[in-house]
């Protein structure tokens, strides 16, 4: 991979000069606009759960989430951006609630070295080729020619629950590179490499290649394969295709995935790897909706691991304000019959209503006896009111009926506040309130 990157970098200067020459011949240099925005989402969520067994006590919850999301863009003559996203959370009524940790999703400085390169430093997502995680570190993106994108990164994988503390670099080392070549208008290729450590030991080292093809009008496909160099096995192979030749044609979609079970190296579980079966998944869907919003959608999902199989089939009717559907699951993991529907309506430009219902009968065993079949009923209704630009009020009511609780009614209140300035340097759409 180093060889690959090195070889590509050698040809950057001449190609870059020519590409910039082409761009400058026609394009006025539009400096990146300066802008800032800050958005908060405040959500309070109250509910009481009363167990059906009448032995345990009912529990009150009062969950509170405060999201922060902000950006400063186009600083230092358009070269510097700062982005932040995180949350504070608590359950004031039930302190033992495990679902309310504080989280830092991203916090990074981005420096645009030129029109064709940028550097990010901090906590950020890396969704590149073989890698798919959040990292505290350095990320470099280059576009030396209009048809070649190069990325490289290094740092420590962030903690799973996105704590505000960073991981130890020597324990959770994450390194990788990805190159994407826009070969022709109908074919792009990518190659990637990713190395990851967990608790100071190598978790995996993978190389991978992807191809995105448009072999016919309206047909788009992505093929991907990962190879694990440590165990010398193909880790994952995947095919994804969409077909929609014209705007009025249904969107057809298929996916096939063949992967090894995810077991990290240097763990107790590694000893079972040779006896594990590969996971093979197939998905297909079709959706058609006409200009009046009437339509249908159908889904298929199949899971095959040796002789273990599970299938889900579903279909829904789409209508102008919602949809009504039915799905069935069958197989070794269990069974389920499900009716579902949802509605959306915007009676006024500043007020939208939505709601939904789901009725399910399920069993977590194959051919389960009737006494192991359970019912789930889920109902919700939501109102979103735009009090003014950048200020939304959310109200939601949920009613859940399930095997454990005789009563589970939930009330949610949320306020979204967004403010910003210079969202457009040309004076159009200058954003939310507090200009």
């Amino acid at each position: 991979m180093l060889l690959l990157l090195g070889g590509s970098l050698l040809v950057i200067p001449s190609a870059q000069a020519r590409a910039e020459g082409q761009a400058d011949s026609g394009n006025r240099d539009l400096t990146r606009a300066q802008s800032w925005y800050f958005r908060t989402r405040t959500t309070a969520y109250a509910y009481t759960t009363a167990p059906k067994d009448a032995v345990t006590d009912k529990t009150d919850h009062f969950e509170f989430y405060q999201y922060l999301d902000g950006a400063l863009s186009g600083l230092a003559q358009g070269k510097l951006d700062l982005r932040l996203s995180g949350r504070f959370a608590d359950d004031f009524a039930f302190k033992a609630n495990p679902t309310t940790p504080n989280r830092l999703y991203s916090l990074y400085l981005q420096y645009h070295t030129s029109r064709r390169g940028s550097l990010r430093l901090g906590r950020l997502f890396v969704q590149e080729g073989v890698a798919n995680y959040t990292m505290d570190g350095l990320y470099l993106a280059l576009k030396p020619t209009p048809r070649l994108k190069l990325r490289a990164w290094g740092g420590a994988r962030s903690p799973y629950n996105m704590e505000w503390e960073a991981s130890n670099l020597s324990d959770e080392t994450a390194l990788g590179a990805h190159a994407i070549a826009l070969l022709t208008p109908w074919m792009n290729l990518g190659v990637g490499w990713s190395y990851l450590e967990h608790n100071g030991a190598r978790a995996y080292q993978k190389v991978g290649a992807e191809a995105a093809l448009r072999p016919a009008r309206g047909l788009r496909t992505i093929l991907r394969a990962h190879y694990e160099t440590e165990s010398e096995q193909w880790d994952q192979a995947e095919l994804l295709a969409w077909y929609k030749p014209t705007p009025r044609w249904p969107m057809l979609n298929v996916q096939y995935l063949d992967r090894r079970q995810s077991v990290e190296k240097n763990t107790y579980w590694e000893r079972f790897l040779p006896s594990l079966d590969r996971v093979r998944l197939a998905r297909a869907s079709a959706r058609y909706q006409n200009a009046e919003q009437w339509g249908v959608e159908m889904e298929y999902f199949g899971s095959f691991v040796d002789e273990f199989a599970q299938t889900r089939l579903g279909g829904a009717v789409l209508f102008p304000y919602g949809r009504l559907g039915y799905s069935v699951r069958l197989g070794d993991a269990g069974e389920e019959n499900r009716w579902y529907g949802d509605l959306r309506w915007r009676p006024l430009n500043w007020w939208s209503l939505s709601g939904g219902a789901m009725l399910s009968t399920y069993a977590l065993l194959k051919d389960a006896p009737e006494d192991l079949e359970r019912d789930l009923v889920t109902l919700y209704a939501r109102s979103v009111t735009r009090l003014r630009d950048g200020l939304n009020l959310h109200l939601e009511f949920q009613s859940l009926d399930n095997p454990q609780y005789s009563k589970d009614l939930r009330f949610l209140v949320g306020i979204d506040l967004a403010m910003g300035r210079g969202a457009s340097s040309t004076g159009l759409g200058t954003g939310g309130w507090l200009q």
Binding site: R28, S85, R87, P98, Q127, T145, F301, L364
Partner: protein
């Protein structure tokens, strides 16, 4: 051996990247019409001579020249001249109207050339740069964003994509939730043309409040999806901490553990199908898991 194969694959691909770096810029899709913007420009013909409605246009219809427009200067009746413009090939690119240029993936509700040209005094080439082959390029989102630094929650997108409809590409269909990871990992920058990383958190925030990744009653039926690998729980949830927060705290055993043959034989069969589920609860980190009692350390 297999490692050598992987390295060989990379080495084989290297020349492609070199060829790319030395090659031309991406071709403009074939419209079936010869691209002659450069010839017209060299002869001092202004863009609006052919695209006469563009300077006052607030929408995207009627912006492309018709044969009548060509007839103002060229003898379009002379069949010998057909190939001057018509390539005789089936168009694969932009249809007759610029409004259809997205080929059904995302449609623009409107685009105000008028304000860009008259108020902001932009030139055509500022957004439609020459492609080096006689044609002009269509602007991509990053180009829009050089002026419209749109932040999540603000209204810039609706200027082109319509005020009340999210500009959702058709690829974001019923199973997009299962598919988007692959599309994103192929080229993250493509997502970033519409989304900021903040948008990811709207779903991947872990609280499942709004919008929701899982159904509200998912807690009770999640085993169906976990055991059939419909979703990979470990992508978002740390095992065994997350699982044991309910299973251990509330002493809830997975239903299959109550089978009569679970300990003697069945657990081994199911583990080979889905060891990830076992690890989700039984991984004890640095210490030996429950399995070590029988399977050894």
């Amino acid at each position: 051996m297999k490692q050598l194969f992987a390295i060989g694959l990379c080495v084989l691909i290297l020349p492609i990247f070199v060829a790319l770096a030395l090659g031309d810029s991406p071709a403009t899709p074939n419209t079936g019409i010869r691209q002659v913007h450069d010839i017209h420009a060299e002869n001092g013909i202004e863009c609006e001579t052919c695209h006469e409605k563009v300077p006052d246009a607030t929408g995207l219809t009627g912006l492309l020249p018709t044969m009548d427009t060509c007839a103002n200067c060229h003898d379009v009746e002379d069949e010998d001249n057909c190939k001057m413009c018509h390539l005789g090939e089936e168009p694969t690119g932009y249809p007759k109207e610029a409004a259809d240029m997205s080929s059904g993936m995302t449609e623009l509700a409107h685009f105000p050339h008028q304000s860009h040209i008259q108020k902001q005094e932009l030139n055509c080439n500022d957004c439609h740069a020459p492609d080096g082959k006689g044609g002009q390029t269509f602007p991509q989102h990053p180009q829009c964003r050089s002026c419209h630094a749109t932040a999540a929650g603000f209204t810039d997108c609706s200027m082109c994509h319509g005020a009340n409809e999210a500009p959702v590409p058709a690829s974001h269909g019923p199973q997009w939730m299962s598919e988007h990871a692959l599309d994103a990992t192929f080229d993250q920058s493509k997502c970033e043309s519409c989304h900021t990383q903040t948008d990811c958190q709207d779903c991947h925030n872990g609280d499942n409040v709004r919008p929701r990744v899982h159904d509200l009653n998912f807690r009770f039926s999640h085993a169906l999806e976990a055991r059939s690998n419909e979703m990979l729980c470990q992508t978002c949830h740390e095992d065994p901490v997350f699982c044991s927060s309910c299973h251990a705290a509330e002493q809830v055993l997975p239903e299959n553990h109550s089978r009569a043959d679970w300990v003697t034989s069945r657990h081994g069969v199911e583990a080979s199908f889905n060891l990830e589920s076992c690890i989700a609860c039984h991984d004890a980190g640095e210490q030996d898991p429950t399995c070590a009692r029988c399977h050894g350390r």
